[in-house]
């Protein structure tokens, strides 16, 4: 799982990085809202942690911006303020959870795990893009022309591409969604399976390989 931390306090962001990586997450860090937005535009993340007060663009504006762009990646908002009004403002801006500073690192990890579980549950069901429909529960990919079964690994892989069409997803993130013990050669085969299945249902999209990873054409 790949997480983005957008936090201007370097000591705190360093501590968060060490802690999250120790707990098995891949992390990326931005130190202000604008840098965070640039990273969000160019990378895939399973979840994000935003500080509320940041230079250039604060956490609320960053949230409002990405939600208005259709990004549904779950976000935890961190703040030094704990007034009810502030919590409500953060949640209304699109945060999935809210944690007041100072917080226990254990609680943050527990909340991130709960947020990711909840996000996976809500993206169960169906995902639409262009002329395709991924039915995750019955592991089936459909178009108006045809339908085809997918295995669980193919569903997991296609899900991350469908969450962020057009965005390059690096190979390590793809591998983490393919499952433990997966290797880059296996990833290439699964990408080829998916591409041939997209062709078979006459999908208006396919997965393209780049030097850094793969993306779903939009």
């Amino acid at each position: 799982m790949n997480l983005l931390i957008v936090e201007d306090e370097r000591e705190l962001s360093n501590a968060l990085t060490v802690l999250l990586e120790h707990n098995g997450y891949q992390t990326d860090v931005a130190y202000d809202g604008e840098e965070g937005l640039n990273k969000i535009h160019s990378n895939y993340y399973d979840g994000m942690v935003f500080d509320r007060m940041m230079p250039k663009m604060d956490g609320i504006r960053l949230l409002q911006t990405i939600r208005s762009e259709g990004n549904v990646t779950p976000v935890i908002l961190l703040t030094a303020r704990s007034e009810i009004e502030d919590r409500v403002e953060g949640l209304n801006a699109g945060a999935n959870d809210y944690l007041s500073k100072p917080f226990s690192m254990k609680e943050l990890i527990a909340r991130i795990e709960a947020m990711l579980r909840s996000s996976n549950a809500t993206t169960c069901g169906e995902m639409h893009f262009k002329n395709i429909l991924l039915k995750k529960d019955c592991e089936e990919l459909q178009s108006v022309f045809s339908s085809i079964s997918l295995c669980r690994k193919e569903v997991n892989l296609l899900t991350i591409f469908l969450k962020t069409p057009g965005k390059i997803i690096n190979k390590d993130i793809c591998l983490s969604h393919l499952g433990v013990d997966s290797n880059p050669k296996e990833l290439e085969i699964y990408i080829a399976y998916l591409n041939n299945k997209l062709v078979s249902i006459k999908a208006d999209t396919h997965i393209i390989k780049t030097a850094d990873g793969y993306f779903l054409s939009d």
Partner: protein
């Protein structure tokens, strides 16, 4: 098999059956001569039995006459080629579509556009352009082993009327068709990877 219904036409239909069978044998042998693996897993052919022909005419509310059968049905003589990989379906189809003595009348691609029940196969209706066999339509079906296996089971279902919960069986058969199609694509992908490694 009772084929009295066909009367004097039967020798012509038998000749058509024999002639196109030899075309298919030639295609297989040409592939083998080039040290390639035989692209055809198995091959069946038949002249429709009188019983089956009459049933089809009845189902379509057509007169039960030879004239009506010859005018309306295109599968009185039928051939079925079963191959290993999806790309072979189209390679075989292209071979016969480019055959100078044959004219393609109808193409129904249920591989790219499966039937609602999940049926997948390529159906081509041809006729010979010249000679004594000219203008007698016949059907060539081409599909993979897994498509054939599915079609065989689905065909049995049609003739078993005592199945409990037929809707569930139909749904499950459709799901199987989708899984088998998925496996066909995976095998095709692995085949392509092996071929690329050879190149």
């Amino acid at each position: 098999m009772e084929k009295n219904f066909y009367g004097n036409l039967l020798p012509k239909l038998e000749l058509l059956d024999k002639t196109f069978t030899s075309e298919i044998d030639y295609y297989r042998n040409t592939g083998k001569a080039k040290d390639e693996i035989d692209p055809i897993e198995h091959f069946k052919h038949r002249i429709k039995s009188e019983k089956s022909l009459k049933e089809k005419l009845e189902r379509r509310h057509l007169p039960i006459t030879l004239e009506s059968a010859m005018a309306e049905l295109t599968d009185i003589v039928g051939f079925r080629i079963v191959c290993t990989f999806i790309h072979e379906i189209y390679a075989i189809a292209d071979y016969f579509k480019n055959h100078t003595g044959l004219h393609l009348l109808i193409e129904k691609d249920y591989v790219k556009y499966p039937k609602e029940n999940g049926y997948r196969s390529l159906h081509l209706i041809f006729e010979y352009t010249d000679g004594v066999l000219a203008h007698i339509p016949f059907e060539l079906q081409i599909r993979t082993v897994s498509m054939d296996c599915w079609a065989s089971l689905e065909h049995q279902l049609k003739y078993k009327h005592q199945i409990k919960d037929p809707e569930l069986i139909v749904t499950e058969l459709k799901r199987c068709a989708s899984i088998m199609a998925s496996i066909d694509i995976n095998l095709q992908t692995i085949y392509q990877i092996i071929k690329e490694n050879d190149a």
